[in-house]
Subunit: 411 residues, 2 copies
């Protein structure tokens, strides 16, 4: 099996480094990809489950644009709906009727939703959720999970990050995932001061395994929040519509007060959403929250069609089954070469690490070896499955994985 | 001249009120439009300088989607570039080459720009600018102008707003626009603690006249910031590419360290940008800042084409001349009916109020009367001109204005 080279990616990156801080910043930065020279930096095109880089290399994409791609790149059904709306108009002085259609659809779909609100980023939704909780409770503090990610707002980045002030994070209280006693302690240390508890449906930090909620964890959290008048916020930005169409909380059997969506909601069209319970509606109305493109109709039309299609085909079920098949097969192949793969998280967004490799050196080698053979794997973040991934993709990925293990073994 | 009715808008709004807080929230909320019954709430389609509401009424649009529309709705040149990129791909696991092209273009275009960074909202850019200033200076405080708008982040909303904590705004120091002594006082009260001075190129608050910078104001601010090691940030989100293609600061003759762009940059495609001087590049690289759709290629392709087209035709010059013609004519017509119109701000985004009407009652009547005759005017916010507005549009608007004044006079 030949491996890829990336001359054009690298020459574009050299140009980029002159005019863009880091060349490529944020979650698409090549910095955590090791060795970066084994990865493509720029995509020329994308279709279905694959993308092609500027050097013409083809990749089965297991990052799915870090989540937004859920029905396949350039899905014809979504594109048709978007095109129809685009011809009418997108970002206009008044919103379009599709905004009402989408809100009605979400309120019907999501079990806890009595209303919906639309923005652009996941972080727009998490910040707005926190502001609503503060407006509703008249309290300032928030309980967050250590190592959780809720976007790049200074409060969400947490202490010690560049550009974050002490005041930005003064109201954050961090607790360990799956630890009820730390939540209870935070509450007793800060009586009637806690506005919100915010967490992802399960814990999916970078650079390490995902952790599922322990038995009864969420039910206990829900009970505590109700008793203490704390707004329970689920950040479903990453898991949303990959676990359960009714809200990832349904996958784990609990009911939050607010749920934040982004990523998979519009199959790559830029939209995020916050949905909530009726008792928070007036507070959501009171907090002023808006943005230049938040009423754009095309992403709303795309989201409505994406959600309908995911519901029609039971997208989460398809992705969970595909993810299970992929990772079960990979685990078997790894064993035959003497490696153990630890797979955590829900299979539609699996987290995979080679065991007994705390430095991640071996794991990085493996991910890079697969990538330069055509299966795009990152070593520091959970992967994503889409409904566009096929059995053929999985078979080809297994072949790539086998060849990669062979190459690593030789080294 | 017949006036419009809005049965379908109102019935859609009734549906919306059940599933969306406020029905329509944020800057598109009908709440400040008085009487709201004289305004359309939902747009069915848009083209060039006009939009049509769901009741089939046609409007010459003087809000331009509150700024993003600058070359006309569905401008064929921009749409062609977007479509070409869309067929290749939009939101992919790696960025597209157009990101580098756009950054290079901005660095060439904007006089102070040594690098460019892309996000989605204007508020993403203003918050990032503040974080960079803090990272670069190791200081926390920021000087802001009373009544200025920099987005909906809690720090930007300011004290007393719903959902904003004391800590969110603890580092804000507010000074009066055009008042150098208050800036000097803020600095002497907070020695070596001020990271940034942030303001719009000229002061364009809601519900009142715009105010231009006084003679030498910006030059003095620039001088003070340099001396005190304060990062000078221009929020060019609203003015950007409507005053001067090289940066609105060039219109007023000064050089900031960072400039925030959004709105007109992509003719409605969702993208914002921060550009900055070389000495801040490493700090921009250090602050972690990203979002799910920030690398999407279609808005970048749209922005590149929008900027090239605006530069080719000298868009700011066209809009300034059109705005001057429109408002000069309106002022003349107003006089013949015994009213004085005060026009402030740069003519490409004029602020217009009837004088001697502090309650805005008369002004609201006038704006509503024009809107329901087909010229969409709001009474509480500056208007926007695009390059797609025509002499015919202006003539028709004058006729509408005349008819509106007649109707108001009768009342």
């Amino acid at each position: 099996m030949n491996t890829y080279t990336y001359e054009k990616s690298q020459s574009l990156f050299k140009r980029a480094a002159k005019v863009i801080p880091c060349g490529i910043y944020g979650h698409l930065s090549p910095a955590p990809l090791v060795p970066p020279t084994d990865y493509p930096f720029y995509a020329a095109k994308a279709s279905g489950s694959k993308f092609w880089d500027v050097d013409g290399n083809e990749f089965i994409d297991y990052m799915c644009a870090y989540g937004p791609m859920v029905l396949g790149y350039n899905n014809p059904i979504v594109e048709e709906a978007a095109e129809k709306q685009r011809k009418l108009g997108n970002c206009i002085t008044s919103p379009s009727p599709v905004m009402v259609d989408l809100a009605e659809y979400l309120v019907n779909l999501i079990s806890i939703a009595d209303w919906a609100f639309f923005a652009k980023n996941g972080g727009d939704a998490t910040s707005f959720a926190l502001m609503i909780a503060r407006a509703a409770t008249g309290r300032a503090k928030a309980i967050l999970i250590k190592g959780g990610y809720h976007g790049v707002s200074p409060w969400a980045q947490g202490p010690g990050h560049h550009g974050v002030t002490d005041e930005d994070v003064k109201n954050n209280i961090y607790v360990k995932w799956n630890d009820i006693s730390q939540i209870e302690e935070a509450i007793s240390d800060n009586p009637k001061q806690i506005a919100a508890f915010m967490a992802t449906p399960y814990h999916h930090p970078a650079f390490t395994d995902s952790e599922m909620p322990g038995d009864g964890y969420w039910q206990k959290v829900e009970q505590i929040c109700k008793k203490e008048g704390i707004v329970l916020i689920v950040d479903d930005v990453r898991c949303g519509f990959r676990l359960d169409m009714r809200g990832s909380n349904e996958y784990f059997g609990f009911k939050p007060d607010l749920i934040c969506y982004c990523k998979a909601i519009g199959n790559g069209y830029p939209i995020s959403a916050l949905v909530g319970k009726d008792y928070l509606r007036n507070y959501a109305a009171k907090v002023f929250y808006t943005g230049s493109y938040w009423f754009s109709a095309v992403p709303m039309a795309a989201a409505l069609t994406t959600l309908k299609e995911l519901e029609r085909i039971n997208g989460p079920d398809i992705m969970i089954k595909l993810g299970k098949k992929l990772t079960d097969g990979m685990t078997e192949i790894a064993k035959t070469y003497g490696y153990n793969l630890k797979v955590t998280g829900v299979p539609s967004m699996p987290s995979i690490y080679i065991t007994d490799d705390e430095s991640l050196m071996l794991h990085q080698d493996f991910c890079a070896a697969c990538t330069k053979r055509g299966a795009f794997f990152t070593s520091h973040h959970n992967w994503f499955i889409s409904t566009a991934h096929t059995d053929e993709d999985i078979q080809r990925t297994w072949d790539i994985v086998e060849d990669a293990f062979k190459a690593i073994k030789k080294k």
